[in-house]
Each structure stands twice: as structure tokens, then as C-alpha cells.
Subunit: 464 residues, 2 copies
């Protein structure tokens, strides 16, 4: 298309006109400052360059890995360069799971013969015996179905194949409705004697990329090998099972090593009036190993650091303490989140708000607010007054979930805030080999940083 | 990230609760129907498959090309399969510009030597003489600067290098602020005796992909060859010019052949109560040649056909006539748009609304409304009453531009409506070799179709 929009006035001025037309006083200084945060984000932020380096020079950063250690050093150096009031590493012990050699996963139909499947061992899963495990494949759509089958799955491989619900507008809801198969499916199958588990990847598309992710073994149930297979292969396997008996083979080489030392990376600008009131912005520094952890959650890390950079670029001196935390080990243990909350409680700190960016670096759409009932009621009413300032940027406020890493702070009664970018593409990349820097658009990423910085600015200026 | 959102209620039900809380009567039937349009779009639409075929089996569809002819046949067959009340081809004569052999464009610094540049001839441009054109390169930032230089550009190559403004939130505004260099720059330079023109690609990113697009030669000024160079090369050339004199070389092989016969592709469902009131949805079937014309504007075509498919899938019998038009030749002449409006005027048709999708198949954000002042005032007030129905889908209404292909209908006084998807990534692909099916996300595309269908449904049901 070659047309030129006639819209001569920017959304910003339209908003001012709207305020005037409504007889309301525009919050001029705030409008102007938020506009300048967006302009600086689109022209001066380093977020995208940082992310490019994290992705291409370090890559996937599984907890306990040499890459995770490199990412700690690299992001600490970035924070050291920002002229903050303090930067430090906070120790934590993390699970140290290693994938080992490439998995071999196959299906062999009684008539159609052997087909290799695109597969990844699930995080935290055990390796198979050296010879692999074999068994007839039984397809199910739910954990309940396994309960109903009971002893019929003994000696077999259970194949969980309930797709994410495509009719959910928010893809995280579709994820939430399917991920129990990955998290709890292996132990449920093992309870009845299954020897292995295949799970349809948590992916709304049909493609060849398997999506890994954590499983949680239940105590007192045998630990059996479990893999995710690509959605295309899940369709292929399901079609074969309608026509013939199919034998499965799983050979994985994963193991859980002893816990390893690691760190959260933290930096802050101290408040000029209420330094004791802390506003946290954070993402998680660890990632799954097959890709570069670009959208999950390198994006959230560089946005969180970017918020502090934007404050510095703007010469803004916050009244309250604004702290960036890059949490370690969100993917398979949350050790960093727990260590951060424990240390904060021990120091009797008071977090008034915590913002988590862990849904990718896509075009920002808004924020989701959570917290203890009283805090949420008061806080949501307060931020609601700022909605006119955020609306020109397409940002909406709602109540809902926030994030896994800020959850442990709940006892300090902060307003818990999840940054919500557009979610349509997230599960194309999530936990796959294609979660690379190519999946990130620079402007979308930077607009997210500006959105978070704008909300943090308002919370800092007006309190909660 | 692995968290599961706590939000148990969908956006849809939250909206109903909102209506109830506000003491307003929810438009239940409309809410439910719009929800069902979205669910059907996400599960049953053929748009993405159609687009995949158009992109991979046909490819770029420049007006007058064999590919454009194939696209006419292919999309007519699709419409024939939808069970519409009428499908027809509407003839028009289109400019027939051909690129010819690959361009050769070089810069040669007095010290740094020769460097080939990533370049594409601008659409409608003449070819160079067989030996190419050479001249010292003069960098400018505007047409005015060429006027000020005047005779100083004689015998030289003018290099337009004013970037798109990255601080514009809507990328189309940034495009509108820079594209005069491509459209009018060549004739302005030729007026003072320049022998060739290089234009910085209309692209907000720094990369190696040149972006073509139409130029408009002015009458009575010599026609000189003109090319777009990639943004990376523009930066490189500009840096060289700060240090040394740089000679340019342009060899292009384009030519404008005699006008060729082509067609708009049209299908409609006739209205049951007011068949004489027409609501058009459309995109343009032609595209530039280097890529597959996926986002520009294959997306708009399959969405427009998808609107009719959705009506059929829903068993919805419109009161008014809903017509899909795939316009030919938007990119370099608008012959299809002119032919459509002329034929419609001749038949004394009455379009009450026209919706154009020509901004890509990204996540829908809203609609922009235009028209004659009275029509716009009344129409915008009317659609404003529906904003509560669209808001759960993140759709907003504003006044502004609409689209190039529906513009010629203005004399019939329709409400002119531009579909507005998220614009951040559009100019990464626009008029390049990477505007391919890979640039399109299936869910984003389908949600766009659902958004347009929802608005068309409301206009059809309630009139304007």
C-alpha cells in the first residue's frame, strides 16, 4: 500500500483534545513526560542491542549452565554501566538439569513402519535407560482419561494430545488450559505403570518444532522419561493410531545434577523521598536450552534494565526506589524468586509494587493487576485514574494474573503487575529452537519498555 | 515463562459483567454473534491457506504480469467456491511496468573504492542507458534542499536520505513523512539536470533489504533512472560522503510497456431487505515483484474474501449487499479502483460503507473512519455506539484516513473505513523481497478477518 494517512494530528494531541472536549484538565506534565519516555525508547534505548548480544554471544541459559553464568556477568556489566546507585549479585542455589545428547524418539506403526519424531525431553525429566524405553502408544486427551484407563497403560507409552484451545483470544489462557499434560502428565501415567510419556507441544500452530518446558514429578511415583513432540508429529501419530497399533521408542539422556550456585542480578536507583518504598521491575535471566531465550525471557530482562536506562536518559530522579531484578531459574524451580523474597523479608523491606515482564517483547497492550484483596482494590482504583494517560499508547488495565517471579513478594502486600504484550505469536516461539533474536522486533520491544517505564513513573510519582 | 494466568473469565464475560455493573443492557445477541465470528475465524477460516497458495504458487503480482493474471483466476475460483450470489471479473486497463534484469548500483569512494549497493529500481521508473548512468553523489534530506542546490546537481546523482521518523507511534505516519522523496524526488532532481536518483528505503530498521515502490514522473521533466537502496547502504553511503567524494553508478533495465488488460475480482452476497445498499470490503490483488506480496496486500485480499466466508459459515443472511472487491493495480496506478468506481457510478449504485484492508495482516487494533463531512459525523456517531462490542477485542475507532482503493467511491457518500492492524512490523516487509508468507502469523490474520466481519455485520444489521 502506498497511501498516506490523512491523520495530521498524532494520537497524543487527539488525547489532549479529548480531555479538553470532556472539560477535564489534562495531566499535562505527565502526558509530556510519558510521550518523551516513548520517544527516547524508540531512539536511544539499548534494550535491543543488549538482547542481540545476550542471544547471539551467550544463547540459551539454562539454570546452572556456563551460559547462565555468562549471562549473570554480562548483565551485571550492563547495569554497572548505567550509573545506578547500587548493583549487586544475589546468590541462590539452582537445580542443575542437563539435557545431554540429542533425544531419539520414534513411532513404529504395525503397517506404516518406523518414523522419527521431532522431540525434546521435558525439563527436569530423567534420562531413559541406555537402551531407551519402548511400548505401545496409548493416546489420551487428559489426566482424567489416564485415571480411567488405569492399569491399561502399564508397560505402555502415554501420548497426551489435547491441543491448546485456538478460540481463546489470549493465548496464555489456551496455554493454561493445556499445560497440565506437560507438568503433571508424566507422573500421572507413571502411577499406573506407563514406561514413558509423549506430550503434544504447547503450540497453537502446526509445525515441526518441539516445545520443551518443565515437568513436575510427584513424590512416591516412579520417574519415567517424558518428551514433547511437535504438533505436526502429534497429528501424524494420532492419525496413525486411528489405523494401526503403534509402538513408541524414547531414548533421552537428561540428568539432574546436584544443585549449583547462581545469582539474581539486581540494580537500583534509590528514592529521593521514600527510599524505603521499593518498586521492582523484573524478568528472568535463565531460559530453555534449545533456542536463545529471546522472547522468553531475554526480552523481559532487557526491558527491565531499559526502564532504569530510560529514567537515567530522562534525568528523572525517582522519589521511591526503583529496582531492576533479573531473576534466575524461573523455568525449572523459581529458586531466584524465592531467594529474592526471602532476603527482602529478612531485611524487612517494603515493596509497594512489582512489575514482571515475562510474556515476550511484542507490541504492548496493557497490564494485569493482582495482589491481596485490599491492596488490589485500592491499587486498581488508583491506577485507573491514569488510564487516560496510557490509552493513547493502546494500553489497558485489567485484573488478573501477574507473574511467577514476583509472586513470592505477595506477603509484603505490593501491587503485583503483569506486563501484557500482544500474545498471538508468543507460543510460536516459546521453549523452542526458534526463540531467537529474529523473533523480536526492535520497535515492539522498545515500546514495551516505554509502557512499563510510564507505569513505574506514575507509581513512583503518586504512590499507591 | 510457565505461569498460568489466573484470569478465569474470558474478556467476553468480563465485558458482559461490565455492562451489567454499569446498569446498561448488554447487546446480547450482537455480543454472542461477534464472539462466534471470532471463534469461527480462529478455527474454520480458509484465509491463511488461501494466502499461502497465493504467495507460494503465484508469488509477486505486478500489474500486467502473468502472475497477476494467475491471481485473478485463482481468487475468482475461491469466490466461486463460497456459494455467493454473484462472482464476476471487472475489466480494467493497467500500466504494465517491468523491472527487467537485476539492477546494478554502486558507489565508488575517492579513497575507499567501489562498493555494490543493495538496490531496487523504483516502480514506473525508466531504465538507464545500456551503459548505465554515472555521476558524483550529492546527499540531500528533502525536495526543498534540491531546489536550494538547483544547478549544482546538474550531471550528478541525487541521494535522498531523510529517514522515516522513528518517534511516530504509528509507522504509517512516519512513512507519510518520508515517502515524498521516493514519489517526487526523481523529477525534482531531474528538473535541475541530475542524471539519476538513489533513495533511502522506506524502512524503520537498519538492514540490507531495498524497498521498491512507485515514483511519479512529472510532465515536461526528463525521466531519469531512480532506485531505492537499503537503509544499511544509505548509512554507509552517507558516512562515506562525510569523508570523501563518492561517484555513483546506476544501471537499471526497467521499462513501461503499453497498458495491459486486467481485472478486479468481485463477489457478493445480495441483501435480503436493502440489496441496493452496498457495503464493500476490499484489498488489492496486485503487489510488487520482489517478494510474494503477503502483507501487502495478499493479507487484505484473503481477509476480504474471508469476511464473506465467515458470513456463509455463520449462516448469516445480510439485509444489505455485502461485496468483496479485490482491486487490481493499487501499487502503480489505481486503475482497478477507478474502474470500479466508474462502473458503479454508471450503474447508479449506492455504497453506504467501504472497508479497506491494506495495512497488513497483523493483530487488529481498530478502524479509521473518513468520508464527506456530514456522512462522517453521522456515521462516526453511529459506530461509536458499538464501541463496547468491539472493545473486548482491543478494537478502537478513530477518525483519519481510510484507503487508496475505496477513495474513488467518495462521491457516493459512503462511510470510508480503513482497517488498522498493529503497524510496528509493517515497514520491515513493505515492498521487499521478504514480504513472504513467513511474515504472516495465522492467528493475527484471522483475528483481522473477524474484526472486519464484526464491523460489517453491525453496519449491515443497523444501517448507517
Amino acid at each position: 500500500m502506498k497511501r498516506i494517512k490523512k491523520t495530521a494530528l498524532s494520537a497524543f494531541f487527539l488525547t489532549l483534545i479529548f480531555f479538553v472536549a470532556q472539560g477535564q484538565k489534562p495531566m499535562d506534565a505527565d502526558s509530556v513526560f510519558i510521550r518523551s519516555l516513548h520517544e527516547k525508547a524508540l531512539t536511544q534505548l539499548s534494550s535491543y542491542n543488549w538482547l542481540t548480544d545476550i542471544c547471539t554471544k551467550i544463547g540459551g541459559r539454562l539454570s546452572g549452565s556456563p551460559q547462565a553464568a555468562k549471562a549473570v556477568d554480562f548483565t551485571k556489566k550492563i547495569m554497572d554501566s548505567l550509573g545506578l546507585d547500587a548493583v549487586w549479585l544475589q546468590p541462590c542455589m539452582v537445580p542443575h538439569w542437563v539435557r545431554g545428547e540429542k533425544e531419539v524418539v520414534e513411532m513404529t506403526g504395525s503397517q506404516s513402519g518406523k518414523t522419527p519424531l521431532h522431540a525434546l525431553a521435558l525439563g527436569n525429566s530423567v534420562g531413559s535407560p541406555a537402551a531407551g524405553v519402548s511400548g505401545e502408544i496409548v493416546e489420551v486427551k487428559s489426566l482424567d482419561e489416564v485415571d480411567r484407563l488405569g492399569e491399561k497403560v502399564r508397560g505402555k507409552i502415554v501420548f497426551y494430545n489435547r491441543p491448546m484451545d485456538p478460540t481463546k483470544l489470549e493465548t496464555f489462557q489456551a496455554y493454561g488450559g493445556a499445560v497440565d499434560q506437560r507438568g503433571s502428565g508424566p507422573s500421572r501415567a507413571a502411577k499406573y505403570g506407563a514406561v514413558g510419556v509423549m506430550v503434544r507441544s504447547m503450540n497453537l500452530r502446526l509445525d515441526d518444532f518441539p516445545h520443551t518446558g518443565a515437568l513436575n514429578y510427584k513424590k512416591d511415583v516412579p520417574q519415567i522419561p517424558a518428551v514433547a513432540i511437535s504438533t505436526n508429529d502429534a497429528e501424524k501419530l494420532s492419525a496413525a493410531l486411528k489405523k494401526e497399533t503403534v509402538q513408541g521408542y524414547i531414548k533421552t539422556n537428561a540428568q539432574m545434577l546436584p544443585d549449583a550456585p547462581s545469582f539474581n542480578v539486581i540494580g537500583e536507583i534509590r528514592g529521593s523521598e521514600h527510599p524505603e518504598e521499593i518498586i521492582v521491575v523484573g524478568g528472568h535471566l535463565d531460559s530453555w536450552d534449545p533456542g536463545q531465550g529471546a522472547q522468553d525471557d531475554g526480552a523481559g530482562c532487557v526491558q527491565s534494565m531499559g526502564v532504569l536506562q530510560l529514567m537515567k536518559l530522562s534525568g528523572y530522579r525517582p522519589k521511591r526506589t526503583i529496582r531492576c531484578v533479573l531473576f534466575m531459574n524461573e523455568e525449572n524451580g523459581s529458586a531466584g524468586a524465592d531467594a529474592y523474597a526471602a532476603a527482602s523479608n529478612l531485611k524487612k523491606e517494603k515493596h509497594i509494587a512489582a512489575v514482571e515482564s515475562d510474556a515476550g517483547g511484542f507490541t504492548p497492550r496493557g497490564f494485569s493487576f493482582d495482589g491481596e484483596p485490599d491492596v488490589l482494590r485500592t491499587g486498581f482504583a488508583k491506577v485507573g485514574k491514569w488510564s487516560g494517560l496510557m490509552e493513547p499508547y493502546g494500553l489497558r488495565f485489567k485484573k488478573g494474573g501477574s507473574g511467577a517471579d514476583i509472586g513470592p513478594l505477595r506477603s509484603q502486600q505490593p501491587l503485583l503487575i503483569g506486563f501484557e504484550p500482544d500474545s498471538q505469536r508468543y507460543f510460536d516461539y516459546h521453549h523452542t529452537a526458534i526463540d531467537t533474536i529474529d523473533a523480536v522486533n526492535k520497535r515492539e520491544l522498545e515500546l514495551g519498555t516505554a509502557a512499563i517505564a510510564s507505569l513505574v513513573y506514575l507509581i513512583d510519582k503518586y504512590g499507591l
